[in-house]
Amino acid sequence: MTKVESQESEAMRPPREEIEAYVMKVLQELARDWEYSGEVGETTGLFRDLGFESLDAVVLGTAIQEHYDRPMPFAELLADVGQREVRELTVGELVRFVEAQLAAEAQEA
């Protein structure tokens, strides 16, 4: 890849703010459906605070993949979460995961 192509690829990558805004919007919409009255922010836990079941996390991951039109290893992320002493995934972690996946793909492109 030429330097110009690399710069173009980087430029096409959505900035973190955009990813965060998208994830937050999705979660806030879902939370309304569940009549969740708390705030949804970077430190919100999907399992502890939003009451996710593992299937909910998988479906959310699939929706994010569809939105960005590329596969992401959500199964590995969730397997990793399952190994933790406290089984939790915060909104911030999820955003960073998506950002890292998009960055990795942009670099490979």
């Binding site: 459906d33 299937l55 909910d56 998988v58 569809e66």
Partner: protein, 538 residues
């Protein structure tokens, strides 16, 4: 343009139940619809199981071609990693895709293997999605908000609710839970009808399809309350109540059918179909226990000791995901899911490693099949297995390597257990329902004969029929055919069946190429609870 073709899916419906319902006056509209149209027994594919069967109905292809064999799927033929099937696994175009590509609108509600939803022109609400995420599954993106605004719309009862599924599961052993559980399914079908009515009234699609899956669920758990004589003397009040509520479910479903047909009007073609039939089952064949006794399968003692006896369901989920309970150094054949009655043979490398070398595969498989066919029920002396399909017989096609090596039809008509067991056969606590090969087909509308019985047609014939009804050509690679005798003489002459060149694959995951896991390994809690509810897992 209004609805041109209406497909009503009745999951698991069988004429052995529907005909008596009509005769008893429980389903008068269905009786009129059958009298005014055609009917047939609809032979499904092997195995008679919801995900591959509905996929065959919507694609006109057998599982070896569309790539869906079960609720579950291995990542590759060599993999021991199992995940749930998704729309990404459907490797050929569906009627939804074909109609949409031809410029027609499509509404598909509650069909399995439709998540993530295909981006058709129209509306999709996939089945088998948890209600908390239903917003994300709906297509287009604003559909959920529109549905949410409907009076009485209740996503928790429309889609899967883990807590309700749990209650239903636990309710199986609790007489008091039957009535609320049956009532839930009456409300669930009403919910789907509300969605249907809203979309037909506001944005009708030329191809509109809705699947009612309560038929299957009630027949699994309540077979004895459904398949019974009108004068049955029930031993208890709760049994009588369960029977009455089952009749009420079918009465309610009949009313929904009538209202649906009224909404789409007489110019629409109406097709009713099920993915498989139903019949009773009284026992469970512990096939992995049988394989163990014969020396074909070995359990890992270390892993078995780690099992929490109280966590039997989770254990099944783990078997389904990883089959980690088996000692793979000593296992040559195994059943990996409790849903498809499939037995897989472990292929060896031919260098002395575990598994069956390629050179011995056919002989090994033949021996396994003949031993299974010879096995007798210890209690009755009758054969346990009535027929065995090899993968070449049942799953010929580009995805054959992903299919079970052998698929069993049990004499009892039921399912295998994949759990370790001291017994080869266990009686069920009560008669339950299980799938059978003959489902139902009925059609009515312009050009369709009145009151004709077509005998038997194939589930593969439904997709060509739907395409013909939409005025579209039928791709030449579909394995079914338009059932021409469903139409009045002269009707086909006025509008002949057109044949199109084979459609291009829908960007398929090839047999040797894993699709991105839309449903991942973390999914088993909810879906396995539902499978347990349906009697697939203990």
């Amino acid at each position: 343009m209004g609805v041109k073709v209406l497909l009503v899916g009745l999951d698991g419906a069988t004429f052995s139940v529907l005909d008596p319902m009509v005769a008893r006056g429980v389903m008068p509209f269905l009786g009129r619809l059958l009298a005014g149209g055609v009917r047939a027994n609809l032979r499904t594919i092997v195995p008679p199981l919801t995900p591959p069967a509905w996929t065959s109905l919507s694609t006109g292809r057998t599982p070896g071609h569309h790539g869906v064999f079960d609720f579950f799927r291995m990542d590759s033929p060599e993999s021991r990693h199992i995940r749930f099937s998704s729309s990404h696994d459907v490797a050929v175009p569906t009627v939804w895709d074909t109609a949409s590509a031809a410029g027609l609108r499509v509404t598909a509600l509650n069909f399995p293997l439709m998540f993530p939803a295909p981006k058709v022109a129209g509306h999709v609400v996939p089945g088998w999605v948890p209600w908390r995420q239903l917003r994300l599954a709906c297509h287009p993106a604003d559909l959920f908000d529109r549905l949410k605004a409907l009076p009485g719309f209740e996503p928790r009862e429309l889609a899967m609710d883990i807590k309700l599924e749990e209650r239903a599961t636990e309710g199986c052993s609790n007489a008091e839970e039957y009535a609320p559980w049956i009532e839930l399914h009456i409300r669930r079908e009403a919910n789907w009808f509300s969605v249907f009515r809203h979309l037909v009234e506001t944005e009708p699609s030329e191809l509109t399809a809705v699947l009612f899956d309560g038929v299957d669920k009630l027949q699994h758990l309540c077979w004895r309350f459904i398949d019974c004589d009108p004068g049955t003397a029930w031993a208890s009040e709760w049994e009588r109540r369960a029977h009455e509520l089952c009749l009420e479910y079918f009465r309610h479903l009949d009313g929904i059918l009538e209202r649906m047909c009224a909404l789409v009007g007489p110019e629409a073609s109406v097709v009713i179909a099920s993915d498989h039939g139903f019949g009773p089952t009284r026992q469970v064949f512990h096939v992995n226990a049988w394989l163990e006794r014969r020396g074909y399968l070995a359990w890992s003692k270390e892993q078995l000791e780690k099992q929490d006896p109280a966590g039997a369901l989770l254990g099944v989920g783990q078997v389904a995901r990883h089959t980690f309970l088996m000692d793979w150094t000593r296992t040559r054949a195994f059943a990996t899911t409790p849903t498809s009655n499939g037995v897989f043979i472990v292929r060896g490398d031919g260098n002395g490693g575990p598994g069956v070398p390629e050179s011995e595969y056919r002989a090994f498989r033949d021996r396994l099949a003949s031993e299974l066919l010879a096995e007798r029920d210890p209690a009755t002396g009758e054969p346990l297995v009535s027929r065995i399909y090899t993968r070449e017989e049942a799953f010929s096609g580009p995805f054959m390597s992903m299919a079970p090596d052998l698929t069993l039809s049990l004499a009892d008509g039921g399912l295998v257990s994949i759990l370790p067991s001291e017994h080869l056969v266990s009686p069920r606590p009560a008669v339950a329902g299980s799938h059978r090969p003959l489902g139902v087909f009925a059609a009515a509308g312009p050009g369709v004969r009145r009151g004709a019985d077509l005998g038997e047609i194939s589930i593969l014939d439904v997709a060509p029929l739907l395409l013909y009804g939409l005025g579209l050509p039928v791709p030449e690679d579909l394995e079914g055919r338009v059932p021409e005798d469903a139409f009045e003489p002269g009707s086909l002459a006025r509008r002949p069946i057109e044949v199109a060149k084979a459609s291009a694959p829908a960007g398929p995951p090839r047999a040797d190429e894993a699709a991105p896991p839309a449903f991942g390994e973390a999914e088993e809690e909810a879906v396995l609870k539902r499978l347990q509810e349906l009697g697939y897992v203990e």
